[in-house]
Symmetry: C2
Subunit: 548 residues, 2 copies
């Protein structure tokens, strides 16, 4: 049985799931679904790995570098990675490209799904690696970089398989000419665009990297992954597993390579501008993303956005406030899908127990945040740690500002990691005169409550902001159908999805693979979507030849 046959059943389920968009995952998100000793083994693994050269990558290098810092320990983790020159990366990649382009779609599909099986066996290693680079909590590190990332990778493989096989690859075209038939043999080939570069981000080094990586590979292009210099270890594990399975199956392990650089001496632009790089996937800030998009090649971007919540009317304000607090506090607001702005009418909010004033609503939100953050079982596990010093400073500065603070940011204790860099959200009340503040992305645990004139004003402000700066999501609370349609139509028209009345276990931050499109590709937050057909089709060119 070859690898395609081994994984064929899963493949077809995945392709079907793409269309149906129901709950689907072959990789359980509950750590308890995995072997009992997996966690202990991973703990031992991370101890051995720290302060060593990373083992597993099949990349020859004379120099090893690394400068990651654990947000939980606030010390360098000392892992060093093989450093190849841009020229070596490119020439290795070009060579691998030639052979990878010639593999069949079945070979690619089987091998890539197999690599996800191998990655699955490393979920716990990846979890600790993610914690000590991104500052995500244990559970989020496990889920986001493990099963959820694998889901997204499988989604890209499935969409790739579907698109690459959507047209027959060979046919006889027969046209009756009356007295005779004109027969022309034809082939149709999805030709790969060529060597890809995937640029990772510091906060989600696996989840945001694997869609582009696997989309590139399934489409027949070799790929160089350039992680953020501060978040290398988790994706290095994934790449090592890919390289191992490539080698094992007799393919060039350079089909996937990892590039490493440093904050002082970055190589990203040199790689991205290299004429041999034909496609670039990027996750990161808008300024660099706009630069990437300006390159004369295929580009796929996830940039920054500013996400809004529109609060109109609710059944149960306490449940709503708790949900919003969690959404904004989860990983200290360092998710691209975290809400930043809450627009509330000065007229207040209708609830099932009567109308509450604007101030009463703000009080309820305050209680939601305090209840979550001060709860010893909820606070540290929800917040995780702050990945970057710059994020920490941004929150500290706002905390020390003269704005009307509803909730102060504070450093709560994480019993396990007493040196962790922690900052709970600062919640600030603003009015429309403060648009300079709320109309910009303040990445991290920062929440603005903006007093508006009425619902229409709230919508208008959210729309204006998302039109200009982009948004990945929008939360809305309304019990009124007309209002719901107003909000949905207005936000959808600028290609922002809306999540209505989320409470309990539903959070606007979560984008589930095989169901929720991550980004629409239609606003300034990015030019692509995980994973629609376009995410694959931009990477190939259909060419048909004819023979008489």
């Amino acid at each position: 049985m070859n690898l395609f046959q081994k994984h064929e059943s899963l493949l077809h389920q995945a392709v079907k799931a793409l269309s149906e968009r129901k709950y689907f995952t072959p990789y359980p998100e509950n750590p308890k679904a995995y072997p009992e000793d997996a966690d202990a083994n991973a703990k031992a693994w991370i101890s051995e790995t720290m302060n060593n050269n990373f083992a597993g990558l099949i990349q020859n290098a004379s120099e090893f570098i690394g400068e990651e810092v654990s947000p939980f320990l606030q010390v360098g983790i000392g892992v060093r990675y093989p450093k190849l020159s841009v020229n070596d990366l490119i020439s290795n990649g070009e060579l691998a490209q030639k052979s990878w382009a010639k593999t069949s779609i079945e070979e690619r599909t089987g091998l890539l799904i197999e690599s996800l099986e191998r990655v699955k066996a490393r979920f716990f290693d990846i979890a600790y690696a993610t914690m000590h680079t991104t500052g995500q909590s244990y559970m989020m590190s496990f889920q986001a970089s493990g099963p959820h990332a694998n889901d997204r990778a499988l989604e890209a493989i499935a969409m790739g398989y579907a698109e690459l096989t959507r047209f027959v690859h060979e046919t006889d075209w027969v046209k009756s000419m009356g007295k005779f038939d004109l027969t022309i043999k034809k082939n149709f080939k999805p030709m790969p665009k060529g060597l890809g570069l995937v640029i990772g981000c510091s906060t989600f080094p696996v989840w945001n990297t694997v869609p582009g990586l696997y989309a590139c590979l399934i489409s027949g292009s070799a790929c160089i992954v350039k992680p953020h210099a501060k978040s290398v270890l988790p994706i290095a594990i994934v790449i090592s597993e890919l390289q191992q399975v490539l080698k094992q199956q007799g393919f060039d392990s350079n089909t996937v390579q990892m590039a490493i650089d440093s904050i002082q001496t970055p190589i990203t632009k040199e790689l991205a501008e290299h004429p041999s790089i034909k496609q670039v996937d990027f996750t990161g800030n808008s300024e660099f993303g706009n630069y990437i998009e300006s390159l004369p090649k295929t580009t796929i971007s996830e940039k920054a956005g500013v996400n809004s919540i529109i609060l109109d009317s609710v059944a149960d304000l306490k449940a709503v406030a708790g949900n919003i607090a969690f959404s904004a506090s989860l990983y200290s607001g360092q998710m691209c899908t975290a809400p930043q702005n809450i627009f509330i009418s000065e007229e207040g909010v209708q609830t099932s127990e009567g109308k509450l004033s604007f101030d009463e609503t703000v009080e309820a939100i305050k209680a939601g945040f305090n209840g979550l953050i001060d709860h010893p079982k909820a606070g540290p596990g929800t917040l995780g740690a702050i990945q970057a010093e710059a994020t920490f400073k941004r929150v500290s500065d706002l905390n020390a500002s003269n704005h009307k603070k509803i909730v102060d940011s504070k450093s709560i204790l994480n019993e396990e990691f007493k040196d962790a860099r922690i900052a709970s959200p600062v919640v600030i009340e603003l009015d429309e005169n403060d648009s300079n503040l709320y109309n910009n992305e303040c990445f991290g645990p920062v929440v603005f409550i903006i007093k508006t004139k009425n619902l229409n004003d709230s919508i208008q402000k959210a729309v204006a902001l998302a039109s200009q700066k982009g948004a990945l999501t929008c939360g809305a609370y309304t019990t009124n159908e007309t209002s719901r349609n107003l909000i949905e139509d207005a936000m959808n028209e600028i290609y922002v999805p809306v999540s209505f009345n989320f409470t309990g276990a539903g959070f606007i931050n979560s984008h589930a693979a095989f169901s929720d499109f991550h980004l629409t590709g239609g606003n300034a937050a990015g030019n692509a979507s995980f994973t629609n057909a376009d995410f694959i089709n931009r990477r190939i060119v259909w060419v048909g030849n004819r023979y008489m």
Copy 2:
């Protein structure tokens, strides 16, 4: 029965045909398949139409203009069209956009296929309109602007339907949380990009316009068509039928509008740059195409390319020469798929009857051209007339040049249209020192035979040219499998399709809907392809909303 139900069976056949890529057309290309009196009625219609205001468009205007000239008669045809200002076109279009975006995919599909049925009833009118604007022969006018164009339009509708329905539009997403289920209702909407502009060309005013027009409409966007000022009448008929069926079905007839301008006072740039125009389809020269592509909106371009033939080895040189002569002479080389350069090794050409020298091969090609052009039943009907004065001048200049002419361009007699602007192909022999000439597009009946060192040199020259200038097709003649693979791999790598060993009734110029992709979108000849998934998906954004 509504229009969707009426055409549902055809729709499903068309969607299936897209994948299978076999011969498929619901619109017979043989004029004899249509009512006997159709041609006579059309002749009467064109006589009435000339020197009158065009009737049928539902567009209010105080001014009517038109400046088309018949290449067969070399006099103005005097048809005038309602002239709307850019502002009026845009504001009408924006209003229509709002309602058209709200129609269901089924409504759009039914209505658009119905419009093709109405267009079918006008095929003969369109044929005469095409003759007297483009200079295409009667048969080509009928086929290219009639059934073949309808095929391409249906192809766009079918691909649109397939893509717009590829994800469920509503679902319940249910995730087991152990003690309870988390249920989230979701919808998924293919949101249109918005008001489109389709810019037509002078030589194929229908065939090159309808793919973008119908792709735009099926995707939920209203559309303004701006034909070339010298080629309006054929597409005006199509638009009038669309407007009539829109009105009849209770939709805003401004969902499709025709813009008219003049060579002296063009409005294309003003329309294309208007911020309300969200997507632009363009067919025409590369300079203007590059400008269109530079606009900050969705653009779909078919620009110029230079098509090559690589002549290596053949079974029957006479058959090959006749085929090449026909390809280059058909509509006087004014097809974007016409071959311009024939690369032949100085070592000569292997045939089944032994090796022929380069000069003997050139002699055979000369005989192929002369045999076709001088044949009274073949020449005039193949050549048609020259659409533009500039094309005529280009050929005349080359004819009068000092280059080594193998076949002179001449004006042969068309018994029916004695005043027709006719120029048969000039065939010129060049060597590699003349690359300045053959490495540029010489639109019209111009053929260069280029003497190369060997097959590899021929391939290299064809690849270098197509890499830089783009190409829509490449013809190759070789009886050797290794050579065939060499050519195919080299051309496919730069995303140019190859047609091998075409003789008899197969011509490299022909791109059949539902089978041959027209353009690959991967080289400088254009950024899109009729009709892959991308041709639709660029025009929509998937947005998913969630409800708890």
